[in-house]
């Protein structure tokens, strides 16, 4: 029923099509990429888009389209994995804070406020720097940055749900706290978490691309959209396709995921 409502959102079909296409491209990269993304051909460096190379080649003759296709994997993994880390960690912290209350609640929420006191990209940059360049460091950094949002959301949900009669009834029947949390609190608190997660994936992909653009994330010669755009900016005049090929892929993916997130939010909003 939720999917049916989500599908009725005006731009949901476009968003869904983009998401499905991105996943298929990421999974099918070895079959879809016309060339090896690492294969250099200096004789064809900075070649214009044409029949042989649909998005041209970069400064060392690598096929841009193949690198954009392989870069889809990095972006989707970064987006979904970092949000998953944040959603799980944040939800656990939120349940702890909301259910335990008192000092535990105060400590967890002040810690979340402290994390939120840093501009997100600055914090991700600092964490990525200390954890080291590479996808792992970026995933952890983004996971930390997005955790407070989920923690606050879950805590609010837990406080609202634990005040309901069915939770009182479960307590009166002698159900232990963990059982109440698992069977009653978490399932009812899940929808806003799902909405937030779906809205966050697009921004996580943008954030990973930003960090890769700055030089964290996947290191050369690996293909990621952000690092490709950074490498291409020195050749903007002679070969703008090196920047705008991955740029277009990034933009379309983020727009599509935004539409999907909006559709899921509208479908799960009890007011609509």
């Amino acid at each position: 029923m939720v999917l049916h409502r989500a599908a009725r959102a005006r731009l949901a079909p476009f968003g869904a099509a983009v998401l499905v296409a991105a996943v298929l491209v990421a999974l099918g990269a070895p079959l879809l990429a016309p060339y090896d993304p690492l294969e250099q051909n200096l004789g064809l460096a900075l070649a214009r888009p044409g029949r042989a190379h649909l998005l041209g080649t970069d400064n060392i003759g690598r096929d841009v389209m193949s690198r954009v296709i392989w870069g889809t994997r990095v972006s989707l993994v970064a987006g979904f994995a970092s949000v998953a880390v944040a959603a799980v960690t944040g939800s656990l912290l939120g349940v702890l804070a909301g259910y335990a209350g008192g000092r535990a609640d105060g400590l967890v929420m002040r810690a979340m406020d402290a994390v939120l006191s840093f501009p997100p990209l600055v914090l991700a940059l600092a964490l990525g720097a200390v954890l080291g360049a590479g996808l792992g460091g970026v995933l952890i950094a983004l996971g930390v940055v997005y955790t407070p949002t989920f923690a606050r959301l879950m805590r609010g949900q837990v406080l609202a749900i634990t005040a309901r009669e069915y939770v009182d009834a479960a307590r009166a029947l002698g159900a232990p706290g963990w059982r109440i949390a698992w069977h009653h609190v978490l399932p009812n608190a899940a929808p806003p978490i799902v909405v937030q997660a779906s809205l966050s994936v697009a921004f996580a992909i943008l954030a990973e691309a930003s960090l890769s653009f700055l030089g964290l994330g996947i290191q050369p010669p690996g293909a990621s959209w952000g690092s490709m755009i950074n490498a291409g900016r020195g050749y903007l005049q002679q070969a703008p396709w090196i920047v705008f090929g991955p740029g277009a892929a990034l933009f379309v993916t983020v727009v599509g995921l935004n539409f999907v997130g909006d559709a899921i939010r509208d479908a799960l909003d009890p007011r609509l």
Partner: protein, 314 residues
């Protein structure tokens, strides 16, 4: 209003303590020895030992934290490993270009967002409204480094109207200074304008549905007078909130914008420090940015209380 100020300040203190603890811990998150990470190219054991002693890393962690907090309270944020200068001096040299960029970006964003948001709301479900909401979507989804390169390609490389990088001090050369900041400010301001447009449109539509607006129209007031006299001030409250929430995005966006346009601001200083593994400088700058962010949010909270009297008396 005084009670609101005191209440907000009191709530900030525990957060500040945790922020300082977090920044202190940053150095210790480095896998392996942070000194080896900072001096990766060096094999001089004596130099490493000397840096370890200077940063206090040879002492127990609680003593390190106490010493760090004592220095912090004296205003000593440590020294850069690269140039040996105090962090405060490194930052104060770079703060003006960042503030100029931020102010110009805010001005650009408000100049764009207000007309677009107001017209979009007033002409709901028309082509003008659809253009306005498309603009908002474009601004939110477009990565700002990509937008920067698009603007550079269009206005710098193709049309050659504006410089593509570098900074000229607007105090010494106002016209050239403004030209050097225009593309970066538009890059930073457009993303913010998109968010403000969306919020303003939404809050104006809500206000336009209120009874007092129906009354004003029934009294014969023109639509423009209704919007200007009744709708806009009520619609501004969520916009101020969003501006506050977007401060973090603005600062983050400034890091990338300064990097792309080679502006000598604090944002680019962070990037340079990160890649030079100048961790004392990274710690100091991150802490100052966080403090600035907390203070700005505090000011926005207080501004919110000033705009909406109902907040002050809660």
């Amino acid at each position: 209003m005084g009670r609101l100020v005191l209440h907000r300040l009191a709530a900030t203190v525990p957060v500040l303590l945790l922020v300082t603890a977090g920044v202190f811990a940053l150095l210790h998150l480095t896998p392996g020895d942070p000194i080896d990470a900072m001096m990766a190219e060096s094999v001089d054991a004596e130099a490493k030992a000397s840096l370890r002693k200077e940063l206090g890393l040879d002492r127990p962690i609680h003593e390190q934290y106490a010493a760090w907090m004592r220095r912090l309270l004296r205003g000593d944020l440590g020294r850069s490993i690269r140039n040996g200068e105090p962090v405060i001096e490194n930052v104060s040299r770079r703060i003006r270009p960042s503030l100029e960029l931020a102010l110009l970006a805010m001005a650009v964003s408000l100049l764009i967002a207000f007309p677009v948001g107001i017209v979009s709301a007033a002409r709901r479900n028309t082509a003008v409204d659809r253009a306005g909401t498309s603009f908002a979507l474009f601004g939110i989804c477009m990565p700002n480094f990509l937008l920067a390169l698009l603007l550079i390609f269009l206005f710098g490389v193709t049309l050659r109207w504006l410089p593509i990088s570098g900074y000229t001090d607007p105090v010494e050369e106002p016209l050239n200074g403004l030209r050097s900041l225009l593309l970066p400010a538009v890059t930073l301001g457009l993303a913010l304008a998109a968010v403000i447009t969306r919020t303003l449109r939404s809050s104006m539509l809500e206000a336009l549905g209120e009874d007092y607006v129906r009354t004003a129209r029934a009294k014969g007031l023109s639509e423009w007078r209704v919007i200007r006299g009744h709708v806009l001030k009520n619609a501004l409250i969520p916009v101020v909130t969003v501006l506050g929430l977007q401060l973090g995005t603005l600062i983050g966006g400034a890091v990338i914008t300064e990097y792309v346009f080679a502006l000598p601001g604090v944002g680019r200083l962070v990037v340079e420090a990160v890649f030079a593994r100048d961790y004392p400088l990274v710690q100091g700058v991150i802490l100052l940015i966080a403090l600035g962010f907390i203070l700005s949010n505090l000011l926005v909270d207080l501004l919110y209380g000033w705009i909406d009297p109902r907040i002050r008396y809660r």
